[in-house]
């Protein structure tokens, strides 16, 4: 074993991880090599000096008292924060309850809603089977009828339904059952959902602008 090889084993020796035949080789080299003896002795001395560290200032005599006092102060501060938080939450809860009560009472004082208007087919073209239409015509029809219906129902004060079958009946559109089933999830605008189910992959045009008053909920 030479010095370079021995040096690589210093850490293992110092960490007491050098055993067996390798340890024997290492010891044999140390016996012969003053340079490695010196280096190893220096490293061991560093460890001994650090371990026997006496040059540290003394801890103040009242250190523990100060720590306990700090803890008491921080506990009191935490208690004050908790009480403040509870007070704030209490006020917020009261306000929320008042708001809910107000919203519950207010609608009951409004004029009763206009009865549901049964849409008729008189204003629309006759019932259309969608399979008869090409893509563009179908898109135009769906969007136009959606727009027309939105205005009509808003004017009548009717709450729009998200029931597809009703929507289809109102719009006088006939679609295959499987398309109807696939469109069940489109709660935002059922007619657009049907359109997407019929022509998958194509994004529909933006919905028509509705009047300011947000009566309906598609």
């Amino acid at each position: 074993m030479n010095c370079s090889q021995a040096e690589k084993l210093f850490d293992a020796y110092l960490d007491d991880e050098l055993n067996g035949a390798l340890r024997l080789e290492f010891d044999a080299h140390l016996v012969r090599c003053a340079g490695c003896q010196r280096m190893l002795a220096l490293l061991e001395t560093i460890g001994d000096v650090v371990a026997a560290d006496h040059d540290v200032p003394r801890v103040a005599a009242d250190f523990v008292d100060r720590v306990v006092q700090d803890i008491a102060v921080s506990q009191q501060a935490q208690l004050r924060r908790q009480r403040w938080r509870r007070a704030v939450l209490g006020v917020v809860a009261l306000q929320a309850a008042a708001a809910v009560a107000f919203m519950w009472v207010l609608p009951r004082r409004q004029a009763p809603r206009a009865p549901a208007v049964e849409a008729t087919a008189t204003e629309y073209t006759p019932t259309v089977a969608v399979e008869d239409l090409d893509r563009e015509a179908l898109k135009e029809l769906v969007l136009r009828r959606a727009e027309d219906m939105a205005f009509e129902w808003h004017a009548a004060g009717v709450e729009l339904t998200s029931n597809f079958k009703d929507m289809l009946r109102y719009a006088n559109l006939m679609v295959p059952d499987e398309v109807l089933k696939n469109s069940e999830g489109f709660a935002v605008n059922p007619l657009l959902g049907i359109f997407q189910a019929l022509v998958p992959g194509e994004a529909p045009e933006p919905e028509p602008v509705v009047p300011d008053s947000d009566v309906h909920s598609i």
Binding site: I46, D53, H54
Partner: protein, 199 residues
Amino acid sequence: MPRSEELKLIARAQRGSPEAFRLLVDAYKERLFAFVWRMLRDHHETEDITQTAFVKAFQALKQYNAKYAFSTWLFTIAYRLCVNHLRKHRPVPTDLDFAQIGETTEDVHDAVAQTEDARRLRDAIWKSVEQLSEAQKTAVLLFYREGKSCDAIGRVLDVPAVTVKSHLHRARARLRAALAAELVDETVALEFLGRIRTA
């Protein structure tokens, strides 16, 4: 303090007993103070940081996992406070405050040799340790002064044990290189080292 007794104190402190926590502070204050002082080298900052470390330990006591040594957990809190402090304030080298230095113990085996040459080498060793990086210094202090394993040191530094070994290896290499100049003469050097190690 035996581990079983320590665990009982910790359990009582977790239930809110200030007296139990006081006993824990008393048991660890010297070691924690020494570690923080070696990291910061400023007496007043060391007191503040050590005090803060104990307060934070009390506040987070419910999160302490008894699977690990309480000292490791304490040193982790102190180490992180030291690192944050060092990042905000560049350390100002200060001379040793000799008025505060404790007396050497009565135990002959622990006493460091008092000759001028031995003192010089000891001071040179500490001066070189001060030049190490925060992680290397922490590894050296916790390994030699606290006798902690590489796994435990890894928990303090939040790194794997193998990284701790790497820190120790590099620290030793740096210390060796820095102290080589002290060993001018082989014979004299061996004599110094022999005297220090057997004192």
